[in-house]
């Protein structure tokens, strides 16, 4: 174990070095760029023995990743925002072909207006692609999640790609201490990928990505739905084994002071660290508030969320994304799957700062609701 003070992008690159993918097709885009730079350096220095493909776009990056994964090797790619949007078409192909690719996303707002700053609209807009989605709270979790994601994605019971999401700049460009695991321990946890469903072998020829008529398509999609449901058990198992070796335990969700909480906030990503600070402060004044951090957004952990929220009188759901007219994605998914007294809050779009006072405002508005979905942190012009 080595403790390094690094950014989440460096943490992701370190994780990739430990996971040893054989093919890395990436195209740089702010704020993901340094991931592609670190990996290029690792390959050039011989620290990562992979084919580094300098593609001409994100559409090509994910296409090359699908092609490489189809030959039966471990593949990594990374992107952000507009790059993710350009990948859209092939993201669905990767999931449908059951390619266990791991992609690191540096969460950034989508244009227009053009913004390089953080929100979750890019990855949230791909939530129906069939990729698993993990939202990291810090650099350590970004590193660990890349390693765990390979283990889960490559499991025969799952075979779906994973997207590890880190908040742009807030995590990707902020340095903090990160524990780099021992390579031997990672090898034990994550053995080489042995494909059984798709690989390149002239002795056993097969066709991938063929045309399917209406007699087959629906079953293929239903299989993905079943794999996504099964993946929750596989994630929990991988998390436990990871904890046994590395001493850090992750869940599908993280409950922070939820047990006796009357008001529970639900959120994803780095924002949760701010919320935890506010909760500590309010708890010292006797206020019963808690946080439910949704770490895995796909597969959607509805049972774990329902269980965590069952004692709360009111729930505030914070989304760094917007589906116009109906509120954020996390709010809508929770409302769709369970009966809770929940209110939606749209926060932090395009890098708008979310401060402790905003969290307090959200708690107050949840206790005295006026409408189901509200935008917090808008700048009101003085007249």
């Amino acid at each position: 174990m080595v403790l390094k003070v690094i950014s989440a992008n460096m943490a992701v690159a370190e994780a990739v070095k430990l996971a040893k993918p054989l093919v890395v097709p990436v195209y740089p885009i702010t704020p993901q760029t340094s991931i592609s730079e670190y990996l290029a350096q690792f390959v050039a220095d011989g620290e990562l023995k992979a084919e580094y493909i300098r593609v001409e776009s994100e559409h090509s990056a994910i296409s090359a990743a699908v092609g490489a994964s189809g030959t039966g090797v471990r593949v990594f790619t990374a992107t952000s925002s507009q790059g993710m949007a350009l990948m859209h078409e092939i993201l669905f192909a990767a999931a449908g072909l059951r390619n266990p690719i791991v992609l690191a996303n540096a969460n950034r707002a989508l244009s227009a207006p053009l913004s390089i700053w953080n929100d979750h609209q890019d990855s949230i807009s791909e939530r129906d692609s069939g990729w698993m989605q993990i939202y990291a709270e810090n650099g350590q979790e970004a590193l660990d999640s890349v390693i765990i994601s390979y283990r889960v994605s490559e499991d025969k019971e799952v075979l779906l790609p994973s997207m590890v999401c880190s908040d742009g700049f807030i995590l990707t460009h902020t340095v903090e201490p990160v524990d780099i695991p021992n390579p031997e321990d990672v090898d034990k946890f994550l053995p080489p990928y042995k494909p059984e469903h798709a690989f390149l072998d002239p002795k056993r020829p097969m066709s991938l990505g063929t045309f399917t008529d209406p007699n087959y398509y629906m079953e293929a999609r239903h299989d993905m739905e079943l794999a996504m449901e099964r993946s929750k058990k596989i994630i929990e198992k991988a998390n436990q084994e990871f904890a046994d070796i590395f001493g850090r335990k992750y869940g599908l969700v993280e409950k922070y002071k939820c047990e006796d909480a009357e008001t529970i906030l639900v959120a994803m990503g780095s924002l949760c660290s701010t919320i935890k600070d506010v909760i500590d402060d309010l708890r010292s004044h006797g206020e019963k508030v808690g946080l439910l951090r949704v770490r895995v957004f796909r597969p959607f952990p509805h049972d774990e969320i329902r269980e965590a929220l069952k004692g709360a009188s009111q729930v505030a759901i914070l989304d760094k994304n917007i589906s116009f007219g109906v509120g954020g994605a996390l709010y809508n998914d929770i409302k769709a799957k369970m009966d809770v007294n929940a209110y939606g809050f749209i926060v932090g779009l395009g890098g708008r700062d979310i401060r402790p006072q905003h969290i307090i405002e959200i708690i107050n508005k949840t206790k005295n609701p006026t409408t189901d979905v509200q935008w917090i942190g808008l700048i009101e012009e003085e007249i």
């Binding site: 072909l97 390619n99 798709a198 097969m206 066709s207 991938l208 063929t210 008529d213 087959y216 079953e219």
Partner: protein, 80 residues
């Protein structure tokens, strides 16, 4: 049964998809009129006409190019 990722594990499976079912018009060759020019064989985009001028209706999509290219109008297109 669909396989994981709908991969096809045996080669040559596209033959199982009988594209002749897409056809609306069917080419009918009158071999008495035929002058053995081979135009239909050369122009057929599906390779559905053999050296004996037999048309493979399993895969003929009924595009009508053979009838168009026949210099002696030996091929007629009829509704299938």
């Amino acid at each position: 049964m669909v396989t994981i990722g709908a991969s096809v594990k045996e080669p040559g499976s596209s033959r199982k998809n009988k594209t002749g079912s897409w056809r609306t018009f069917k080419p009918l060759l009158d071999k008495d009129k035929c002058i053995d020019c081979d135009n239909c064989i050369l122009f057929c985009p599906e390779g559905c006409i053999n050296q004996e001028y037999d048309i493979d209706y399993d895969y003929c999509k009924g595009c009508g190019i053979c009838a168009e290219e026949c210099p002696v109008k030996a091929i007629k297109m009829e509704r299938d």
